[in-house]
C-alpha cells in the first residue's frame, strides 16, 4: 500500500498532466484548470478517507469543515450579525471536524467499498451535481471537475494495486485485489452495500447535469482531432512561437 506522500505526489502529477491537457485543448479556462488540478489531487487522497488514522482523513475533514464554514458565511453574511456568524461558523467547523469525523471513523472500514470502481464514479457524479446546483457552474465545467475527482480516485486505486505486487519475492501481497474492485460479495452486509452503491448511480445520474458537452469535449472524434492538433507543434517549429 502506498503512503500518503506517494499518493499525493502521483495524484498531483497525474492531475497536472490531465488539467494541462484540458487547458491546451481549450476545454477549460486557465482558472478552471487550476481548480481541476486541485480537485484531481484531492480525488487522489479520497479513497483513504475511510482509514481511521490516515493523513487523508484529517486533510479531507479539514477541507470539508472549512468549505462548509465558508459556505455558511456566504449564505448568512447578509442576515447574521458578526457574533452570530462567529458562533455558528465555530459550531459548524467543530461539529464537522470532530463530531462527524469521529462518527465516520466508527462506521467506516478501510479497504471496504470506498476502495472500489463504482465509488470512484459516484464521487465524480456527486461533485458534478454539487458544482452545478451549489455554485451554478455550467454543465461542462461541472463535469470536468467531477471527471478530475474520478481520475484522481482511479490513480489512487491503481497505485494501491501496483504496490500489492512484491517485485523482490515475485509474488502478490495479501492486499492484492482489495484496492481496485467492482464490489464485495462475501457477506450479506457486503452484498447490501454493493447493491446500494450500484443502485445509487442511475439515481444520481438522473439529477446530474447534462453530459452532452463533456462527451463532445472529451470522448468524441472531434475531441480526438483536437488532442492531435495540440499534441505536437502544428507547423513543425519547436519552441519558436
Amino acid at each position: 500500500m502506498a503512503n500518503f506522500n506517494t499518493h499525493f505526489m502521483v495524484a498531483s502529477g497525474a492531475s497536472a498532466i490531465v488539467s494541462g491537457t484540458l487547458l491546451s485543448m481549450e476545454v477549460v479556462a486557465p482558472e478552471q484548470a487550476v481548480n481541476a488540478f486541485i480537485l484531481g489531487t484531492l480525488g487522489g487522497l479520497l479513497p483513504d478517507v475511510d482509514s481511521a488514522h490516515s493523513t487523508s482523513i484529517k486533510v479531507g475533514f479539514n477541507v470539508l469543515s472549512l468549505l462548509m464554514t465558508i459556505m455558511l458565511i456566504f449564505v448568512k453574511s447578509s442576515t447574521y450579525s458578526l457574533i452570530e456568524m462567529f458562533i455558528v461558523a465555530g459550531l459548524v467547523f467543530v461539529g464537522i471536524r470532530y463530531a462527524l469525523l469521529d462518527i465516520f471513523r466508527k462506521i467506516s472500514k478501510h479497504r471496504g467499498m470506498f476502495h472500489s470502481i463504482p465509488v470512484a464514479f459516484i464521487w465524480g457524479i456527486v461533485i458534478a451535481i454539487l458544482m452545478q446546483y451549489f455554485f451554478g457552474l455550467n454543465s461542462l465545467v461541472s463535469w470536468v471537475y467531477g471527471f478530475m475527482v474520478t481520475t484522481g480516485y482511479f490513480v489512487h486505486l491503481i497505485l494501491d494495486e501496483l504496490y500489492s505486487v512484491d517485485l523482490r519475492n515475485k509474488r502478490m501481497k495479501k492486499s492484492s485485489g482489495t484496492a481496485m474492485k467492482f464490489g464485495k460479495l462475501k457477506t450479506s452486509k457486503d452484498k447490501i452495500q454493493t447493491a446500494i452503491i450500484y443502485a445509487s448511480i442511475p439515481i444520481l445520474m438522473n439529477i446530474a447535469p447534462d453530459t452532452t458537452l463533456i462527451v463532445n469535449a472529451l470522448f468524441s472524434y472531434d475531441a480526438w482531432l483536437t488532442f492531435k492538433d495540440v499534441l505536437l507543434p502544428y507547423d513543425g517549429r519547436w519552441f519558436l512561437h
Binding site: 455558511l72 459548524v92 463530531a99 451554478g136
Partner: protein, 158 residues
C-alpha cells in the same frame, strides 16, 4: 453519553443548514398577461422603420438587435470569437436562480437566446458548434452559459 453529545451537535448543524435553504418563493407567472406590443419608431440613416417591440412586465423588453450584440460580445470572450460561425435562436423568456451556496434566489429574469458557435482551432479546423445560452436584460447581455440546459435556469417559453 459522548456519542449523544456528538449526535446533538450534528443535529444542530443540520438544523442551521436547513435554515439556510431559502423558503419557497411564490409561483412566478409566465407573464402572458403582461405581454404588450409596442410601436417603437426608430430613426435610421435611410428610412424611418416601425418595429413591433414586445415588452413583458416581468421579463422586460425583448431584445431586437441580439444577433449583433451576441457577435460583438463573444468576439472578446472566446478564443477566435471573431472568426467563428454563429447561429441564433429566437429570444425566449427565462429566469435563473443563484447556486444554493449563494442563497438560491432568483438572480436574473429576462430574455434568453440560444446560440451555437462553431469556433476554429488554432490550426484553423472548424470545431463542432458549441451551444450557448445568452442572457439578456433588455438589449444588454448579462451573462452567457455554455450548454442549452442548466439546472438553475428555467425557460418559460418552449
Amino acid at each position: 453519553m459522548k456519542i449523544l453529545v456528538k449526535i446533538a451537535l450534528l443535529g444542530s448543524i443540520s438544523g442551521v443548514f436547513l435554515g439556510c435553504v431559502p423558503a419557497p418563493k411564490p409561483q412566478i407567472g409566465i407573464g402572458l398577461g403582461g405581454l404588450i406590443s409596442q410601436q417603437v419608431k426608430r430613426v435610421s440613416n435611410s428610412l424611418p422603420v416601425a418595429e413591433n417591440r414586445v415588452v413583458d412586465r416581468e421579463y422586460g423588453a425583448k431584445p431586437l438587435h441580439y444577433m449583433n450584440a451576441i457577435r460583438s460580445y463573444f468576439t472578446n470572450k472566446i478564443p477566435r470569437g471573431g472568426l467563428s460561425k454563429y447561429k441564433y435562436g429566437e429570444p425566449k423568456r427565462a429566469y435563473k436562480k443563484e447556486g444554493f451556496a449563494f442563497g438560491g434566489d432568483i438572480s436574473w429574469r429576462g430574455w434568453l437566446v440560444e446560440t451555437s458557435i462553431a469556433t476554429p482551432t488554432r490550426t484553423g479546423r472548424l470545431l463542432t458548434p458549441k451551444p450557448y445560452m445568452v442572457l439578456f436584460s433588455g438589449e444588454q447581455i448579462v451573462e452567457h452559459i455554455l450548454g442549452y440546459s442548466h439546472k438553475l435556469i428555467t425557460k418559460v417559453d418552449p
